[in-house]
Symmetry: C5
Subunit: 130 residues, 5 copies
């Protein structure tokens, strides 16, 4: 059995606010945290003919790589659908002045571990409502 | 065990109807409400060379951010696939005159919590058919 | 336990065949019918510089809204991924002469409701194979 | 309980190889076969200003319809995400000389039917490991 | 019951690093490894008017096929959402000098096989926490 929680997140990167960080390191043994990037959108006021590049750095995955290259008149948005799982994640606008709007979800999942003992009784790691 | 219900929703934002609000605050302990935005589409009659910007404000998530930048001849539609979960959500056309057509789903999920008592009997929070 | 069935559907709208209707009203208490629109595609023989607009009308959801605006040379296809659930749904080509090809899936889901009686016996709404 | 298997498939249609067929007719009562088309991609060597049209014909679904219209410089790829379920499916390049690269997945799903007899013993249609 | 693990992966192909290989051959009977390619992105510094073609070769699936054709000013990114399951997979930049950034997920799934013996005791292939 699972119980999930999900929040919408959004953040804006620009030349005055080039970075955003999320800490998704799991907090106990049975909780998992996941960040899902659904859309990266260049603002209507972005400069013409300027590339805007968003890079991600994920500590657990040892990765640092561009995930969006946007330019007014050529590519207005990206829909990468990328997931970062139990990591510390930083998004940086490494080129261009934006604004670039990122949005997606943070999902917290509580996994209930059920044990079946030899006499058939069930016990649960998480407290059950009664 | 789960029982879900899903409805299709659509709404049109324009200069005479710039806002639309959905209340997804959960109504009791075991019901969750979710709004999914699948597509934001600029109408065939939208003005040329005008940016149309749709912004979302979500009370529970403390977020206010653009989710679509559309312009005839450049970007006709967005498919953000964004979810808003148990919140009060307002979409506003903050720039341009539209019309902009939004559509997606509202999902209601009924989670049946099953209790296993010490003598092995199962009881359920929700009434069972018999 | 669930048993699903899924069929692929496709239909073509044009100036000689402007409408298509699907009846997804559920037929008994435990069957749900869902129509999923995956792609709306403008034909290679569509006229240049003509907008083609597909509108959906869904009886259960009380909605009538455009879901695709296509034009040769500007926007060849849409991938809305929209679902219509237990409704009567009509798609109409309200502008342009097409042809416009729609495709997706119709999913029928049979949900087996399991009852647990007080003496622990399980009975099922749907007949089980034996 | 389910056990799945999935393979990646890819095929190339061109003027010398205009058709590809997959037989997904289910082979026994409890096995389902599904073909998922994720991407249809026009080759870098495709001719300029030539439409390339891929049509699908599915025997079980009684459907014959275009699923991609591609043209160098206008529309390089489609991502239809279409599923064909327990059918005989043929993809044909009905216009243009390609090459057009199709790829996706073939999913085989083994559904284990569990019976619960009146004395509470479980038996399974599929052999269990022991 | 399932326990999953997922990592984000990213790699960059260019004229000095044209290949990347992942070994997803399953390591024991009950573990499955899957690589999911979510996005293939042409760098902001890619040359104008040069096609960049990424090809995949998958040993288990006996497939070798292009999965992305990118060109600055025409097609900046692909979102193929392709999965490679328990195979040895090589991505190669077979045309163009890139850089091309690939990213997605590697999913490891541990399937717990539960046996029900004739006296009703359950045993598990994987060790259970106690």
């Amino acid at each position: 059995m699972e119980a999930n929680d999900q929040i919408f997140f959004g953040c804006t990167l620009s030349d005055t606010n080039t970075c955003a960080t999320w800490d998704l390191i799991k907090e106990d043994d049975f909780r998992c945290n996941k960040l899902v990037i659904k859309q990266i959108l260049l603002d209507a006021d972005a400069k013409n003919d300027e590339y805007n590049v968003v890079e991600v750095m994920s500590s657990r995955d040892l990765v640092k790589i561009p995930i969006a290259v946007l330019k007014a008149g050529e590519q207005r948005m990206a829909i990468p659908d990328l997931e970062f799982y139990e990591s510390n994640v930083t998004f940086s606008l490494i080129r261009g002045s934006g604004p670039v709007h990122m949005c997606g979800h943070i999902v917290r999942e509580y996994v209930d571990i059920m044990y079946v003992s030899k006499d058939g009784h069930q016990t649960h790691k998480y407290p059950r409502l009664s």
